[in-house]
């Protein structure tokens, strides 16, 4: 590997770049609403929230994290974990986007179709 870039390097980078684009682009055209947020703890569905039906803010805490749901958006407000990656992920507003707190095993995933229920709380 004495050269910085060979022909195969350029080809590899182009292929990976195109692959990523092909996978990312459809998301911009996918049906976005009504947005449903699913909150999982340890891989189990904890609650499902129809974000289009929220008028003000709905704040709740799950497994040492605080989550804030607003109209068509949801985010981690705080967490007791060390790295705060979940809080730094910011607001989720698009279908198929996810935010997670690994130390607390909490995952928020957004989907573009309405869930079966308006809200499930345990």
């Amino acid at each position: 590997m004495d050269k910085l870039a060979k022909r195969s390097d350029i080809l590899l980078i182009l292929i990976l770049f195109m692959l990523a684009l092909v996978l990312i682009l459809p998301r911009f055209f996918s049906r976005q609403e009504p947005l449903t947020a699913s909150v999982y703890v340890d891989g189990e569905l904890n609650q499902q929230i129809d974000l289009s039906k929220i008028d003000s803010t709905y704040e709740f805490s799950v497994n040492n994290t605080v989550i804030v749901a607003e109209n068509n958006s949801i985010r981690f407000k705080s967490s007791d974990c060390r790295d705060k990656l979940c809080v730094n992920t910011g607001r989720l507003t698009k279908a198929n986007s996810v935010a997670a707190c690994l130390p607390n095993r909490v995952l928020i995933a957004l989907s573009g179709e309405s869930g079966e229920y308006d809200a499930i709380t345990y």
């Binding site: 770049f17 990523a20 060390r82 790295d83 730094n88």
Partner: protein, 177 residues
């Protein structure tokens, strides 16, 4: 210099210290909005690549494991697991590349492949910890990010190679990559 245990320990110490210093430095970079959470340039991969190609694969594995222990001690168990999974998989890929297709790729290709595999290894850990396949939705963004960071680390390795070679040139560990 003989390939004895003292010189081996000294060389490993230097390389590990360099890898840890780079990990620490990139930890100081604030989170970039729009980037995958926790995404980092992977600068310490420069040392791993250099070690596999110019010193030996066993040494590279030792550095990878020490790096994961350092991450676990300074940033917690989750960070340690992420570092171990991504590190071991990408180092394994490096070793296979250096053994079986030495001349197919240049610095850029090798570091991009490592970055992609490193990210996939970390995604695997988050899948196991979270128990949800939703995390795989990140794959396209991780590939895109890996292409950028891989190109960056590959370029830095190419530029710093003469300096890195200098520190081991007179030891018996040096093999012409």
């Amino acid at each position: 210099m003989k390939r004895n245990s003292a010189s081996r320990a000294a060389l490993l110490g230097i390389l590990t210290a360099e890898a840890l210093a780079l990990s620490f430095l990139e930890g100081l970079i604030p989170p970039i909005p729009g980037m995958p959470p926790g995404a980092k340039p992977g600068l310490s991969n420069i040392i791993t690549m250099f070690t596999v190609y110019s010193v030996g694969w066993q040494e590279a594995l030792v550095i990878t494991v020490l790096k994961a222990i350092f991450a676990a001690l300074t940033r917690g168990v989750t960070a340690g697991l992420m570092s171990l999974s991504g590190g071991l998989l990408s180092t394994a890929a490096l070793i296979l590349l250096s053994k079986f297709s030495k001349d197919r790729f240049g610095y850029l290709g090798i570091s991009v492949i490592c970055a992609v595999i490193h990210n996939l290894g970390q995604l695997l850990v988050s899948f196991i910890l979270l128990g949800s396949a939703a995390v795989f939705g990140y794959i396209p963004f991780l590939i895109l990010f890996a292409v950028v960071t891989g190109a960056l680390t590959g370029t830095v390795l190419k530029v710093t190679m003469p300096v890195l070679i200098k520190q081991i040139k007179f030891s018996s560990f040096y093999k012409r990559g």
